[in-house]
């Protein structure tokens, strides 16, 4: 009879120990933002992003702070950055992007896509 790790005869506590160990291992990957990340401020005013073009260093994680000065909510979204976040009216929200390879990454405001457009240029 096999006593492989996944054999049903393994007592439950072996599974629990393994699960906790895995979670612990995964936990070592958790990080909080460190102060060395470049921080970029993006403002939403009258359904437009200001600045519409942002330059950031490539291959580094960037902290993006979106300040929505409009009364209504906007959703910051980008397919190339694979990010989306709703920023309520008259609020600030933070999100992390990158590390980005050098290039242009477009983003838009989903709720006002006609006017809310911008691009992040990593170089």
């Amino acid at each position: 009879m096999s006593s492989s790790f996944f054999s049903p005869r393994r007592p439950t506590h072996h599974w629990l120990v393994s699960a906790v160990a895995l979670l612990g291992l995964a936990g070592t990957g958790l990080t909080r933002a460190d102060a060395t990340e470049p921080e970029v401020l993006l403002t939403i005013r009258e359904h437009r992003f200001e600045p519409a073009e942002i330059k950031v260093p490539a291959n580094r994680r960037i902290k993006l702070v979106v300040h929505n000065q409009d009364a209504s909510a906007e959703e910051f979204e980008s397919h190339t950055l694979n990010r989306e976040k709703v920023v309520p009216g008259r609020s600030k929200a933070t999100l992390f992007i990158g590390p980005l390879k050098a290039g242009r990454y477009e983003f838009f405001g989903e709720y006002h896509a006609a006017s809310a457009k911008g691009v992040i240029v990593a170089e």
């Binding site: 996944f6 049903p8 599974w15 990957g29 958790l30 990080t31 909080r32 933002a33 994680r61 902290k63 702070v65 409009d70 009364a71 209504s72 909510a73 906007e74 959703e75 397919h79 190339t80 694979n82 990010r83 976040k85 709703v86 920023v87 309520p88 009216g89 008259r90 609020s91 600030k92 929200a93 933070t94 999100l95 992390f96 990158g98 590390p99 390879k101 989903e110 709720y111 896509a113 006609a114």
Partner: protein, 277 residues
């Protein structure tokens, strides 16, 4: 109006698909509409509350409050679907076999109504909160637009999204009972993996995990994420045109976890032959 309708449609679609699949999976379960209805209603109420609290939540945790809330909701939804996938299989498998043998309808299928109702509630909560926030923004603050246009867009988008959910449900209802369990189980397992992938993305966006955070490929040339098919596949199976390594890890890890856990549950439940005295 059509821009509003499209946005509301996409939000509604994701929730409607999950509810539709769960509704189909629970065919034959006693009082399921009551359970599912309560889940959807609770989710809707929660969505309004979440939207009203949005600006407070957004500023929490140095601007990461919304991501943290999202992570909590996604984690709970993932736990619900994983639990259902692992334990539901044990009972559902046996119940389906019994039903076939006896020719009777599956009574409860071993589904845990509270778990599934909560999964529905969470789906409606997530998408609903974004929708409410969006519509409040249009109706309440944008004085250049008459209120009836965004409200009409809301109605159309909601109806269209719900219709897709209903179509999924009706489509799955045609699946014969003996195959229904396997089909809906598979769909729910994939949904769980999709939610895990979204959880990974939320963790990266919130800056909580820094590993494997770059996209591994870009398939948007073959299937654009904002195309109709791309949107549907995203809602059903978690399709992402630029998945990060972490997303793939969570996606695959969920599939592996459910498979292994189900196997163990089934093995411990199988009655072993008793040695003759």
């Amino acid at each position: 109006m059509s821009a509003t309708a499209l946005i509301v449609f996409r939000e509604t679609l994701e929730a409607a698909l999950i509810v539709g699949i769960i509704a189909a999976a629970t065919r034959g379960m006693a009082a399921r509409w009551r359970w599912l209805g309560s889940g959807v209603a609770a989710g809707a109420i929660g969505a309004v509350i979440l939207a009203l609290l949005a600006d407070h939540i957004a500023t929490l945790a140095e601007g990461l409050g919304q991501d943290f809330a999202n992570i909590a909701i996604l984690s709970l939804a993932l736990a619900m679907l994983v639990w259902h996938s692992v334990l539901g299989q044990q009972h559902g498998f046996a119940a389906a076999q019994d039903a076939r043998r006896l020719g009777t309808a599956v009574r409860s299928g071993g589904h845990t109504p509270a778990v599934l109702a909560l999964a529905c509630a969470l789906a409606v909560l997530r998408e609903g909160a974004e929708t409410v926030l969006f519509v409040i923004g249009l109706v309440g603050t944008d004085t250049t637009v008459a209120p009836h246009a965004p409200l009409l867009g809301l109605a159309v988008g909601l109806a269209a999204g719900t219709a897709v959910g209903v179509m999924i449900y009706l489509g799955l209802s045609r699946v014969p009972t003996r195959r229904l369990f396997a089909v809906t189980h598979g769909l729910i397992v994939i949904l769980a993996a999709a939610i895990a992938s979204q959880l990974a993305r939320a963790l990266t966006q919130a800056g909580l995990v820094q590993h494997w955070d770059t996209p591994l490929w870009d398939s948007s040339r073959w299937l654009a994420p904002d195309s109709a098919l791309g949107t549907l596949l995203h809602a059903l199976a978690g399709y992402d045109a630029r998945p990060s390594g972490l997303q793939l890890l969570f996606y695959g890890g969920t599939l592996v976890l459910i498979t292994l856990a189900s196997r163990r549950v089934r093995a411990t439940a199988t009655p072993r032959p008793v040695a003759a005295a």
